[in-house]
Symmetry: C2
Subunit: 185 residues, 2 copies
DNA sequence: ACGTTATATGCACCTTGTTGCATAGTCAAA
DNA sequence: TTTGACTATGCAACAAGGTGCATATAACGT
């Protein structure tokens, strides 16, 4: 429900083309909301039809023309409404956990590999986020609201990947040492 | 992609009707994979068409008739294939974080309420999971594979909600004390 | 001349998930 | 006797997301 709103938030900062939005989603916004370029380009005409954004064609030299979108007052109002509307946490969907449940019944080997792979992915993200924390927030979370919000977004990613790495370690320890015959014991 | 497989895993334990599956998803499986009854009933004919499950009509006294589904050897094979196929972590999609990013630009008040609500939800889950941990795993994670997998699923939920509660506390502290004029300072 | 990378935009098809509605039998309580 | 709770199963419409494919300009290197 909130791809539209994530795009609006991005457009509040400054107007952008579809391509710009894709890149923003790949960078900052993408830490907490993934979207493919197909999805984004598909939403833009809808946002325009709802008059939440206005579009302007911009000719460029040396590059293809582009369409630059800006948020409208109606879009801004829609965003305010959405911000005020309480929404619960996203429902959890973890296929890794489905596999762990499967491991209980079907054997643990394939899942151990999978857990190792997940650990690696999360550890990489964690290292990246820790580096950003050192570089951008070595002096603390900052004083103004904007900086602190960026800091909190980063912290959210940090805590998330930290807890996953911890879990993977626990899981690898517990499942590796389990005697193979334990399921019939 | 893994609602089908989550259902198969559930059916490996024992055959079940659609209604049984719904209840299992609401209870144990639902800690890491949500599914509505509409979704589950929609998948069942597809699983049957793929011959991953077989169905049998069962007449009951005192209750409506039901269709009981059991996993087939082909279903079991499909499940093994899926377990062995590496899949990355689920993409992150956190509308709360989109709102926090919005708060940086549009004001913090609505989002503070939202964070408080999230904290409450996560704290409730956490309390529940801690209670289950005490009751079922007071003596530790257990010795056999099945128990340990249940334990790990629980741990995953625990760590997840713990990290959210921590984040909410950080966020409330940082955003409450931010001087309201800081965005123009 | 040829491939690669970056810019820039999209369509088509399919799967997955949500929302609202619909039906029907049994049982217990009010 | 009606109301509500539990069992049991679904359809229709829509929103959201994923996969694959398609196109075009222009800079840069080889």
């Amino acid at each position: 429900m909130s791809l539209k709103h994530a795009m609006l938030v991005s457009l509040v900062e400054r107007p952008a083309s579809g391509y710009d939005l894709v890149r923003r989603f790949d960078r900052s916004v993408g830490y907490f909301w993934r979207a493919s370029h197909q999805q984004i380009y598909r939403e833009l005409p809808k946002l325009e039809a709802a008059e939440w954004v206005s579009a302007e064609a911009v000719a460029q030299t040396g590059k293809p023309d582009k369409r630059v979108y800006a948020i409208t007052p109606q879009g801004r109002a829609a965003l305010d409404t959405w911000l005020a509307r309480p929404v619960g946490p996203e429902p959890v969907r973890e296929s890794l956990m489905v596999k762990v449940r499967g491991a209980a019944l079907l054997g643990v080997d394939a899942v151990l590999e999978e857990i190792k792979r997940h650990r690696e992915v999360h550890a990489d993200k964690l290292a990246l986020f820790r580096q950003i924390e050192r570089e951008d927030f070595g002096q603390g979370p900052g004083d103004d609201r904007k900086t602190r919000c960026r800091y909190l977004a980063l912290r959210s990613g940090l805590l998330y990947h930290e807890s996953w790495v911890s879990w993977c370690d626990e899981a690898l320890a517990l499942l590796s040492e389990t005697p193979p015959s334990s399921d019939v014991a």
